[in-house]
Protein backbone atom coordinates (compact mmCIF):
# COMPACT_ATOMS: atom_id res chain seq x y z
CA UNK A 1 0.00 0.00 0.00
CA UNK A 2 2.80 2.37 0.96
CA UNK A 3 4.43 1.62 -2.40
CA UNK A 4 1.28 2.70 -4.23
CA UNK A 5 1.10 5.93 -2.20
CA UNK A 6 4.78 6.58 -2.87
CA UNK A 7 4.20 6.13 -6.61
CA UNK A 8 1.19 8.44 -6.59
CA UNK A 9 3.27 11.00 -4.70
CA UNK A 10 6.12 10.58 -7.18
CA UNK A 11 3.71 10.97 -10.11
CA UNK A 12 2.25 14.26 -8.93
CA UNK A 13 5.43 15.65 -7.44
CA UNK A 14 7.35 14.80 -10.61
CA UNK A 15 4.63 16.44 -12.71
CA UNK A 16 4.60 19.67 -10.73
CA UNK A 17 8.38 19.89 -10.36
CA UNK A 18 9.05 19.25 -14.04
CA UNK A 19 6.59 21.99 -14.89
CA UNK A 20 8.18 24.41 -12.42
CA UNK A 21 11.59 23.49 -13.84
CA UNK A 22 10.31 24.32 -17.30
CA UNK A 23 9.36 27.79 -16.10
CA UNK A 24 12.85 28.21 -14.76
CA UNK A 25 13.65 29.34 -18.30
CA UNK A 26 10.18 29.91 -19.77
CA UNK A 27 9.35 33.38 -18.45
CA UNK A 28 5.74 34.68 -18.28
CA UNK A 29 6.38 37.05 -21.21
CA UNK A 30 7.65 34.09 -23.24
CA UNK A 31 4.63 32.07 -22.19
CA UNK A 32 2.27 34.82 -23.35
CA UNK A 33 4.17 35.15 -26.64
CA UNK A 34 4.20 31.41 -27.26
CA UNK A 35 0.88 30.29 -25.82
CA UNK A 36 -1.40 33.30 -26.25
CA UNK A 37 -0.16 35.51 -29.10
CA UNK A 38 1.52 32.79 -31.17
CA UNK A 39 -1.64 30.66 -31.50
CA UNK A 40 -3.69 33.70 -32.46
CA UNK A 41 -1.18 34.51 -35.19
CA UNK A 42 -1.17 30.90 -36.40
CA UNK A 43 -4.98 30.76 -36.54
CA UNK A 44 -5.12 34.13 -38.31
CA UNK A 45 -2.45 33.18 -40.85
CA UNK A 46 -4.11 29.96 -41.97
CA UNK A 47 -7.63 31.37 -41.81
CA UNK A 48 -6.65 34.37 -43.94
CA UNK A 49 -4.79 32.15 -46.38
CA UNK A 50 -7.89 29.94 -46.57
CA UNK A 51 -10.08 32.98 -47.19
CA UNK A 52 -7.75 34.10 -49.99
CA UNK A 53 -7.74 30.62 -51.48
CA UNK A 54 -10.60 28.96 -53.24
CA UNK A 55 -10.28 25.44 -51.91
CA UNK A 56 -13.86 25.64 -50.69
CA UNK A 57 -13.20 25.27 -46.96
CA UNK A 58 -14.92 27.74 -44.66
CA UNK A 59 -13.07 29.98 -42.21
CA UNK A 60 -14.39 27.76 -39.39
CA UNK A 61 -12.50 24.81 -40.91
CA UNK A 62 -9.17 26.59 -40.31
CA UNK A 63 -10.14 28.15 -36.97
CA UNK A 64 -11.18 24.81 -35.42
CA UNK A 65 -8.31 22.88 -37.02
CA UNK A 66 -5.64 25.28 -35.78
CA UNK A 67 -7.24 25.84 -32.36
CA UNK A 68 -7.08 22.09 -31.69
CA UNK A 69 -3.65 21.73 -33.30
CA UNK A 70 -2.30 24.26 -30.78
CA UNK A 71 -2.35 21.48 -28.22
CA UNK A 72 0.81 20.24 -29.94
CA UNK A 73 2.67 23.24 -28.48
CA UNK A 74 2.35 21.69 -25.02
CA UNK A 75 2.03 18.08 -26.14
CA UNK A 76 5.11 18.10 -28.35
CA UNK A 77 7.37 20.95 -27.18
CA UNK A 78 6.44 21.01 -23.48
CA UNK A 79 6.58 17.26 -22.91
CA UNK A 80 9.76 16.80 -24.93
CA UNK A 81 11.55 19.60 -23.12
CA UNK A 82 10.48 18.10 -19.79
CA UNK A 83 12.40 14.94 -20.63
CA UNK A 84 15.23 16.57 -22.57
CA UNK A 85 15.78 19.08 -19.76
CA UNK A 86 17.29 16.36 -17.58
CA UNK A 87 19.95 15.74 -20.14
CA UNK A 88 20.75 19.43 -20.71
CA UNK A 89 20.88 20.17 -17.00
CA UNK A 90 23.01 17.15 -16.14
CA UNK A 91 20.37 15.55 -13.89
CA UNK A 92 19.85 12.46 -16.06
CA UNK A 93 22.39 10.31 -14.15
CA UNK A 94 20.59 11.10 -10.85
CA UNK A 95 17.25 10.31 -12.45
CA UNK A 96 18.46 6.92 -13.66
CA UNK A 97 20.20 6.33 -10.35
CA UNK A 98 17.01 6.53 -8.28
CA UNK A 99 14.98 3.42 -7.42
CA UNK A 100 11.77 5.31 -8.36
CA UNK A 101 9.17 3.62 -10.54
CA UNK A 102 10.10 4.50 -14.09
CA UNK A 103 6.59 4.41 -15.54
CA UNK A 104 5.31 6.82 -12.87
CA UNK A 105 8.27 9.10 -13.43
CA UNK A 106 7.86 8.95 -17.21
CA UNK A 107 4.11 9.66 -17.26
CA UNK A 108 4.41 12.35 -14.63
CA UNK A 109 6.32 14.46 -17.13
CA UNK A 110 3.28 14.79 -19.36
CA UNK A 111 0.41 15.33 -16.97
CA UNK A 112 0.69 19.09 -16.38
CA UNK A 113 1.34 19.66 -20.07
CA UNK A 114 -1.95 17.94 -20.84
CA UNK A 115 -3.74 20.46 -18.62
CA UNK A 116 -1.69 23.31 -20.11
CA UNK A 117 -2.37 22.03 -23.62
CA UNK A 118 -6.11 22.00 -22.98
CA UNK A 119 -5.84 25.55 -21.68
CA UNK A 120 -3.99 26.51 -24.87
CA UNK A 121 -6.76 25.05 -27.03
CA UNK A 122 -9.37 26.99 -25.03
CA UNK A 123 -7.35 30.17 -25.66
CA UNK A 124 -7.38 29.29 -29.37
CA UNK A 125 -11.16 28.86 -29.35
CA UNK A 126 -11.54 32.13 -27.42
CA UNK A 127 -9.66 33.91 -30.21
CA UNK A 128 -11.79 32.12 -32.77
CA UNK A 129 -15.06 33.17 -31.14
CA UNK A 130 -14.14 36.74 -30.18
CA UNK A 131 -12.08 37.79 -33.20
CA UNK A 132 -13.12 35.54 -36.04
CA UNK A 133 -16.80 34.92 -35.30
CA UNK A 134 -16.66 31.18 -34.70
CA UNK A 135 -20.20 30.06 -33.89
CA UNK A 136 -20.44 27.64 -30.97
CA UNK A 137 -24.22 27.87 -30.55
CA UNK A 138 -24.74 24.23 -31.65
CA UNK A 139 -21.88 22.93 -29.55
CA UNK A 140 -22.13 20.69 -26.53
CA UNK A 141 -19.38 22.29 -24.38
CA UNK A 142 -18.78 19.18 -22.29
CA UNK A 143 -18.37 17.03 -25.40
CA UNK A 144 -15.95 19.55 -26.87
CA UNK A 145 -13.99 19.61 -23.62
CA UNK A 146 -13.76 15.81 -23.66
CA UNK A 147 -12.55 15.85 -27.26
CA UNK A 148 -9.92 18.44 -26.35
CA UNK A 149 -8.81 16.36 -23.33
CA UNK A 150 -8.50 13.14 -25.34
CA UNK A 151 -6.69 14.86 -28.20
CA UNK A 152 -4.27 16.57 -25.85
CA UNK A 153 -3.59 13.23 -24.17
CA UNK A 154 -2.80 11.47 -27.45
CA UNK A 155 -0.61 14.34 -28.66
CA UNK A 156 1.31 14.23 -25.37
CA UNK A 157 1.84 10.51 -26.05
CA UNK A 158 3.71 11.47 -29.21
CA UNK A 159 5.53 14.09 -27.12
CA UNK A 160 6.71 11.39 -24.71
CA UNK A 161 8.06 9.32 -27.59
CA UNK A 162 9.88 12.35 -29.01
CA UNK A 163 11.09 13.19 -25.51
CA UNK A 164 12.69 9.75 -25.26
CA UNK A 165 14.30 10.32 -28.64
CA UNK A 166 15.70 13.60 -27.30
CA UNK A 167 17.80 11.56 -24.89
CA UNK A 168 19.75 10.00 -27.73
CA UNK A 169 19.87 12.81 -30.27
CA UNK A 170 21.39 16.26 -30.32
CA UNK A 171 18.75 17.56 -32.74
CA UNK A 172 15.72 17.71 -30.49
CA UNK A 173 14.62 21.10 -31.87
CA UNK A 174 14.71 19.71 -35.40
CA UNK A 175 12.61 16.69 -34.42
CA UNK A 176 10.10 18.76 -32.43
CA UNK A 177 9.59 21.40 -35.04
CA UNK A 178 9.33 18.88 -37.85
CA UNK A 179 6.73 16.89 -35.89
CA UNK A 180 4.76 20.07 -35.18
CA UNK A 181 4.70 21.13 -38.83
CA UNK A 182 4.00 17.60 -40.10
CA UNK A 183 0.94 17.61 -37.84
CA UNK A 184 -0.09 20.93 -39.40
CA UNK A 185 -0.15 19.28 -42.83
CA UNK A 186 -1.35 15.77 -42.10
CA UNK A 187 -3.71 16.09 -39.14
CA UNK A 188 -6.43 17.74 -41.17
CA UNK A 189 -6.02 21.07 -39.41
CA UNK A 190 -5.46 22.95 -42.67
CA UNK A 191 -5.94 20.42 -45.45
CA UNK A 192 -8.99 18.14 -45.58
CA UNK A 193 -7.72 14.56 -45.20
CA UNK A 194 -9.57 13.35 -48.31
CA UNK A 195 -7.58 15.81 -50.44
CA UNK A 196 -4.28 14.19 -49.43
CA UNK A 197 -2.71 11.43 -51.55
CA UNK A 198 -3.66 7.98 -50.23
CA UNK A 199 -0.15 7.28 -48.86
CA UNK A 200 -0.30 10.46 -46.79
CA UNK A 201 -3.86 9.64 -45.67
CA UNK A 202 -2.45 6.40 -44.25
CA UNK A 203 0.17 8.38 -42.30
CA UNK A 204 -2.51 10.81 -41.17
CA UNK A 205 -4.51 7.89 -39.77
CA UNK A 206 -1.79 6.88 -37.33
CA UNK A 207 -1.13 10.39 -36.07
CA UNK A 208 -2.64 11.90 -32.96
CA UNK A 209 -4.86 14.95 -33.55
CA UNK A 210 -6.41 13.67 -36.80
CA UNK A 211 -9.47 12.17 -35.13
CA UNK A 212 -9.53 14.90 -32.51
CA UNK A 213 -9.76 17.67 -35.08
CA UNK A 214 -12.43 15.83 -37.09
CA UNK A 215 -14.41 15.17 -33.90
CA UNK A 216 -14.15 18.79 -32.73
CA UNK A 217 -15.50 19.95 -36.10
CA UNK A 218 -18.37 17.47 -35.81
CA UNK A 219 -19.19 18.53 -32.23
CA UNK A 220 -19.18 22.22 -33.20
CA UNK A 221 -21.54 21.40 -36.07
CA UNK A 222 -23.99 19.86 -33.59
CA UNK A 223 -22.89 16.24 -33.18
CA UNK A 224 -23.02 14.59 -29.76
CA UNK A 225 -20.18 12.85 -27.96
CA UNK A 226 -21.85 9.54 -28.72
CA UNK A 227 -21.32 10.27 -32.45
CA UNK A 228 -17.61 10.78 -32.04
CA UNK A 229 -17.01 8.16 -29.35
CA UNK A 230 -15.48 5.53 -31.70
CA UNK A 231 -13.03 8.11 -33.04
CA UNK A 232 -12.17 9.19 -29.51
CA UNK A 233 -11.52 5.60 -28.44
CA UNK A 234 -9.18 5.23 -31.39
CA UNK A 235 -7.49 8.52 -30.44
CA UNK A 236 -6.92 7.19 -26.91
CA UNK A 237 -5.53 3.97 -28.40
CA UNK A 238 -3.12 5.91 -30.61
CA UNK A 239 -1.98 7.91 -27.60
CA UNK A 240 -1.39 4.70 -25.62
CA UNK A 241 0.64 3.20 -28.47
CA UNK A 242 2.91 6.27 -28.61
CA UNK A 243 3.30 6.24 -24.82
CA UNK A 244 4.22 2.54 -24.93
CA UNK A 245 6.81 3.08 -27.66
CA UNK A 246 8.17 6.09 -25.78
CA UNK A 247 8.42 4.16 -22.52
CA UNK A 248 10.11 1.16 -24.14
CA UNK A 249 12.62 3.52 -25.76
CA UNK A 250 13.13 5.34 -22.44
CA UNK A 251 13.89 2.06 -20.64
CA UNK A 252 16.08 0.80 -23.47
CA UNK A 253 18.12 4.02 -23.35
CA UNK A 254 18.52 3.62 -19.60
CA UNK A 255 19.69 0.03 -19.86
CA UNK A 256 22.04 0.83 -22.73
CA UNK A 257 23.40 3.94 -21.05
CA UNK A 258 24.10 2.04 -17.82
CA UNK A 259 25.73 -0.83 -19.65
CA UNK A 260 27.97 1.40 -21.75
CA UNK A 261 28.48 4.20 -19.25
CA UNK A 262 27.21 6.70 -21.80
CA UNK A 263 24.42 8.37 -19.86
CA UNK A 264 24.66 11.71 -21.62
CA UNK A 265 26.54 10.72 -24.72
CA UNK A 266 25.10 10.58 -28.22
Amino acid sequence: MSKVIANIRLFFQGAVLSYIALFHWLRPSQYIATKVVGPLAQILFFTLMGKFGTSGESADFYIIGNAIQITALSGIFGVTFSLAGDRWNGTLPYLFGTPANRMTMFLGRAVIHIIDGMFGVLIGFTWGVTLLGLDLSNTDPLALLLVIAVTTFSTSGLGLLLGSLSLITRNVMFINNTAYFVLLVLSGSNIAIDRLPSALQAVSNVLPLTRGIASARAIINGATFRDVRPAMLEEIGIGMIYITFGYVLFRWIEVLAKRRGTLEAM
Partner: protein, 265 residues
Protein backbone atom coordinates in the same frame (compact mmCIF):
# COMPACT_ATOMS: atom_id res chain seq x y z
CA UNK B 1 37.57 56.34 -43.17
CA UNK B 2 40.76 55.11 -44.85
CA UNK B 3 40.63 52.70 -47.78
CA UNK B 4 42.75 50.17 -45.88
CA UNK B 5 40.18 50.12 -43.09
CA UNK B 6 37.37 49.41 -45.56
CA UNK B 7 39.41 46.57 -47.03
CA UNK B 8 39.97 45.14 -43.57
CA UNK B 9 36.26 45.35 -42.78
CA UNK B 10 35.31 43.65 -46.04
CA UNK B 11 37.84 40.92 -45.25
CA UNK B 12 36.25 40.40 -41.82
CA UNK B 13 32.74 40.37 -43.32
CA UNK B 14 33.87 37.77 -45.85
CA UNK B 15 35.43 35.54 -43.19
CA UNK B 16 32.44 35.89 -40.83
CA UNK B 17 30.20 35.07 -43.80
CA UNK B 18 32.12 31.91 -44.78
CA UNK B 19 32.53 30.67 -41.22
CA UNK B 20 28.85 31.25 -40.34
CA UNK B 21 27.72 29.58 -43.54
CA UNK B 22 29.75 26.46 -42.77
CA UNK B 23 28.72 26.40 -39.13
CA UNK B 24 25.03 26.90 -39.90
CA UNK B 25 25.00 23.96 -42.29
CA UNK B 26 25.71 21.65 -39.35
CA UNK B 27 22.88 23.09 -37.24
CA UNK B 28 19.72 21.03 -37.69
CA UNK B 29 17.51 23.85 -36.43
CA UNK B 30 18.88 26.17 -39.14
CA UNK B 31 18.26 23.49 -41.74
CA UNK B 32 14.71 23.09 -40.44
CA UNK B 33 14.09 26.83 -40.81
CA UNK B 34 15.38 27.13 -44.33
CA UNK B 35 14.39 23.76 -45.81
CA UNK B 36 11.71 21.87 -43.88
CA UNK B 37 9.41 24.66 -42.69
CA UNK B 38 9.19 26.57 -46.01
CA UNK B 39 8.63 23.25 -47.74
CA UNK B 40 5.75 22.36 -45.43
CA UNK B 41 4.25 25.84 -45.77
CA UNK B 42 4.58 25.54 -49.55
CA UNK B 43 2.75 22.20 -49.47
CA UNK B 44 -0.08 23.67 -47.40
CA UNK B 45 -0.27 26.77 -49.60
CA UNK B 46 -0.36 24.63 -52.76
CA UNK B 47 -3.33 22.71 -51.33
CA UNK B 48 -5.12 25.81 -50.05
CA UNK B 49 -4.35 28.21 -52.91
CA UNK B 50 -3.53 25.79 -55.72
CA UNK B 51 -7.05 25.81 -57.18
CA UNK B 52 -6.48 29.36 -58.40
CA UNK B 53 -4.54 28.06 -61.40
CA UNK B 54 -0.97 27.50 -62.49
CA UNK B 55 -0.01 31.15 -62.19
CA UNK B 56 -0.41 31.04 -58.39
CA UNK B 57 2.43 28.50 -58.10
CA UNK B 58 5.26 31.02 -58.52
CA UNK B 59 3.49 33.26 -55.98
CA UNK B 60 3.51 30.34 -53.51
CA UNK B 61 7.16 29.49 -54.24
CA UNK B 62 8.22 33.07 -53.54
CA UNK B 63 5.90 33.47 -50.55
CA UNK B 64 6.92 30.27 -48.80
CA UNK B 65 10.58 31.06 -49.54
CA UNK B 66 10.04 34.41 -47.85
CA UNK B 67 8.78 32.61 -44.73
CA UNK B 68 12.15 30.85 -44.61
CA UNK B 69 13.94 34.18 -45.05
CA UNK B 70 11.98 35.78 -42.22
CA UNK B 71 12.57 32.78 -39.94
CA UNK B 72 16.27 33.07 -40.64
CA UNK B 73 16.28 36.80 -39.82
CA UNK B 74 14.17 36.32 -36.69
CA UNK B 75 15.82 33.24 -35.21
CA UNK B 76 19.35 33.21 -36.64
CA UNK B 77 20.25 36.85 -37.28
CA UNK B 78 18.27 37.89 -34.22
CA UNK B 79 20.27 35.52 -32.03
CA UNK B 80 23.63 36.19 -33.70
CA UNK B 81 24.98 38.15 -30.71
CA UNK B 82 23.10 36.20 -28.04
CA UNK B 83 24.66 32.99 -29.35
CA UNK B 84 28.18 34.44 -28.92
CA UNK B 85 27.18 35.27 -25.37
CA UNK B 86 26.06 31.68 -24.72
CA UNK B 87 29.26 30.22 -26.12
CA UNK B 88 31.47 32.67 -24.22
CA UNK B 89 33.04 34.22 -27.32
CA UNK B 90 31.37 37.63 -27.06
CA UNK B 91 34.09 39.16 -24.87
CA UNK B 92 36.77 38.16 -27.37
CA UNK B 93 34.77 39.62 -30.27
CA UNK B 94 34.14 42.90 -28.45
CA UNK B 95 37.82 43.15 -27.52
CA UNK B 96 38.91 42.91 -31.17
CA UNK B 97 39.85 46.09 -33.08
CA UNK B 98 37.12 45.33 -35.65
CA UNK B 99 33.74 46.77 -34.61
CA UNK B 100 31.30 44.10 -33.46
CA UNK B 101 28.72 45.42 -35.94
CA UNK B 102 30.98 44.51 -38.87
CA UNK B 103 31.30 40.93 -37.66
CA UNK B 104 27.56 40.61 -37.02
CA UNK B 105 26.89 42.07 -40.49
CA UNK B 106 28.96 39.25 -42.03
CA UNK B 107 27.13 36.66 -39.95
CA UNK B 108 23.69 38.02 -40.83
CA UNK B 109 24.62 38.19 -44.50
CA UNK B 110 25.40 34.47 -44.34
CA UNK B 111 22.11 33.64 -42.62
CA UNK B 112 20.00 35.61 -45.09
CA UNK B 113 21.89 34.39 -48.16
CA UNK B 114 21.63 30.82 -46.97
CA UNK B 115 17.89 31.23 -46.38
CA UNK B 116 17.42 32.09 -50.05
CA UNK B 117 17.77 28.38 -50.67
CA UNK B 118 14.30 27.93 -49.18
CA UNK B 119 12.96 29.43 -52.41
CA UNK B 120 14.92 26.86 -54.41
CA UNK B 121 13.46 24.07 -52.29
CA UNK B 122 9.91 25.40 -52.73
CA UNK B 123 10.57 25.80 -56.46
CA UNK B 124 11.68 22.19 -56.74
CA UNK B 125 8.64 21.00 -54.78
CA UNK B 126 6.10 22.92 -56.86
CA UNK B 127 7.81 22.05 -60.11
CA UNK B 128 8.86 18.42 -59.63
CA UNK B 129 6.36 17.00 -57.12
CA UNK B 130 3.28 19.04 -57.98
CA UNK B 131 4.17 19.49 -61.66
CA UNK B 132 3.43 23.21 -61.94
CA UNK B 133 5.00 25.02 -64.89
CA UNK B 134 7.13 27.64 -63.21
CA UNK B 135 8.91 30.61 -64.66
CA UNK B 136 9.95 34.00 -63.38
CA UNK B 137 8.34 36.69 -65.56
CA UNK B 138 11.04 39.35 -65.09
CA UNK B 139 14.29 37.58 -64.15
CA UNK B 140 16.50 40.70 -64.10
CA UNK B 141 14.10 42.65 -61.90
CA UNK B 142 13.67 39.54 -59.73
CA UNK B 143 17.43 39.22 -59.15
CA UNK B 144 17.71 42.94 -58.36
CA UNK B 145 14.78 42.54 -55.96
CA UNK B 146 16.57 39.64 -54.28
CA UNK B 147 19.68 41.77 -53.80
CA UNK B 148 17.61 44.57 -52.24
CA UNK B 149 15.81 42.00 -50.08
CA UNK B 150 19.07 40.57 -48.77
CA UNK B 151 20.47 44.03 -47.93
CA UNK B 152 17.33 45.19 -46.14
CA UNK B 153 16.88 41.96 -44.19
CA UNK B 154 20.53 41.94 -43.07
CA UNK B 155 20.03 45.49 -41.76
CA UNK B 156 16.81 44.45 -40.00
CA UNK B 157 18.71 41.51 -38.50
CA UNK B 158 21.26 43.94 -37.02
CA UNK B 159 18.45 45.77 -35.22
CA UNK B 160 16.96 42.52 -33.89
CA UNK B 161 20.35 41.15 -32.79
CA UNK B 162 21.13 44.22 -30.67
CA UNK B 163 17.58 44.66 -29.44
CA UNK B 164 17.43 41.06 -28.26
CA UNK B 165 20.71 41.40 -26.35
CA UNK B 166 19.78 44.71 -24.77
CA UNK B 167 16.34 43.55 -23.75
CA UNK B 168 15.91 39.79 -23.20
CA UNK B 169 12.18 40.40 -22.61
CA UNK B 170 11.90 41.36 -26.27
CA UNK B 171 13.78 38.20 -27.29
CA UNK B 172 11.25 36.14 -25.36
CA UNK B 173 8.74 37.34 -27.96
CA UNK B 174 10.83 35.76 -30.72
CA UNK B 175 8.46 32.79 -31.17
CA UNK B 176 5.45 35.07 -31.14
CA UNK B 177 6.84 37.25 -33.94
CA UNK B 178 7.01 34.54 -36.56
CA UNK B 179 3.45 34.31 -37.91
CA UNK B 180 2.50 38.00 -37.38
CA UNK B 181 5.15 39.01 -39.93
CA UNK B 182 4.00 36.24 -42.32
CA UNK B 183 0.60 37.98 -42.13
CA UNK B 184 1.62 41.65 -42.13
CA UNK B 185 4.18 41.21 -44.91
CA UNK B 186 1.66 39.54 -47.19
CA UNK B 187 3.89 36.58 -48.03
CA UNK B 188 1.05 34.28 -49.11
CA UNK B 189 -1.95 36.58 -49.42
CA UNK B 190 -2.33 40.29 -50.14
CA UNK B 191 -2.49 42.64 -47.15
CA UNK B 192 -5.65 44.11 -48.72
CA UNK B 193 -7.63 41.38 -46.95
CA UNK B 194 -6.37 42.63 -43.57
CA UNK B 195 -8.08 45.45 -41.63
CA UNK B 196 -6.93 48.85 -42.86
CA UNK B 197 -5.39 49.86 -39.52
CA UNK B 198 -2.69 47.20 -39.96
CA UNK B 199 -1.36 48.71 -43.22
CA UNK B 200 1.07 51.21 -41.59
CA UNK B 201 2.67 48.31 -39.69
CA UNK B 202 3.19 46.47 -42.97
CA UNK B 203 4.78 49.56 -44.54
CA UNK B 204 7.35 49.71 -41.73
CA UNK B 205 8.54 46.19 -42.45
CA UNK B 206 11.23 45.50 -45.03
CA UNK B 207 9.83 41.96 -45.48
CA UNK B 208 6.59 43.52 -46.79
CA UNK B 209 8.40 45.54 -49.47
CA UNK B 210 10.56 42.51 -50.25
CA UNK B 211 7.39 40.47 -50.80
CA UNK B 212 5.92 43.19 -53.03
CA UNK B 213 9.08 43.43 -55.16
CA UNK B 214 9.59 39.68 -55.44
CA UNK B 215 5.93 38.87 -56.13
CA UNK B 216 5.47 41.47 -58.87
CA UNK B 217 8.78 40.70 -60.55
CA UNK B 218 8.15 36.95 -60.49
CA UNK B 219 4.44 36.93 -61.41
CA UNK B 220 4.14 39.94 -63.74
CA UNK B 221 6.10 42.15 -66.11
CA UNK B 222 6.25 45.32 -64.04
CA UNK B 223 7.62 48.63 -65.25
CA UNK B 224 10.76 49.89 -63.56
CA UNK B 225 8.66 52.52 -61.75
CA UNK B 226 6.33 49.88 -60.35
CA UNK B 227 9.14 47.79 -58.89
CA UNK B 228 11.11 50.94 -58.07
CA UNK B 229 8.84 51.89 -55.16
CA UNK B 230 9.50 48.73 -53.12
CA UNK B 231 13.22 49.03 -53.92
CA UNK B 232 13.27 52.64 -52.68
CA UNK B 233 11.33 51.65 -49.58
CA UNK B 234 13.73 48.79 -48.89
CA UNK B 235 16.65 51.21 -49.36
CA UNK B 236 15.13 53.79 -47.01
CA UNK B 237 14.24 51.17 -44.42
CA UNK B 238 17.77 49.73 -44.64
CA UNK B 239 19.21 53.15 -43.84
CA UNK B 240 16.73 53.58 -40.98
CA UNK B 241 17.52 50.10 -39.62
CA UNK B 242 21.28 50.83 -39.87
CA UNK B 243 20.91 54.09 -37.94
CA UNK B 244 18.88 52.32 -35.23
CA UNK B 245 21.33 49.40 -35.16
CA UNK B 246 24.33 51.77 -34.89
CA UNK B 247 22.69 53.50 -31.92
CA UNK B 248 21.78 50.18 -30.30
CA UNK B 249 25.32 48.79 -30.79
CA UNK B 250 26.76 51.90 -29.13
CA UNK B 251 24.30 51.59 -26.28
CA UNK B 252 24.96 47.88 -25.89
CA UNK B 253 28.75 48.20 -25.82
CA UNK B 254 28.62 51.22 -23.50
CA UNK B 255 26.31 49.36 -21.13
CA UNK B 256 28.49 46.26 -21.30
CA UNK B 257 31.67 48.22 -20.47
CA UNK B 258 30.08 50.25 -17.68
CA UNK B 259 28.11 47.43 -16.09
CA UNK B 260 30.54 44.66 -17.12
CA UNK B 261 27.55 42.56 -18.15
CA UNK B 262 28.68 41.28 -21.53
CA UNK B 263 28.17 37.63 -20.79
CA UNK B 264 25.24 38.01 -18.42
CA UNK B 265 22.27 40.26 -17.88
Amino acid sequence: MKLGMWKAYIHVIRLAFIFTLKQAMTDAFVLFGIFVQPLIIAIMALFVLGDQGDEIAIFIVVGSGLTGLWDSVLFQSGSSITRERWTGTLEALVGMPTPLGVIVFGKNLAFVTQALSSMVVSYALASIIFGYPLHVESPVLFILSIIMTVISLVCLGLVLATLFVLNPDVQRWQNGLEFPVFILAGFLFPIAILPQWTTPFSYMLAPYWAAVALHISSSTNPGILEVGLPWIMMGLLSVAYLVIAFWLFKKMLFKARVDATLSGQ
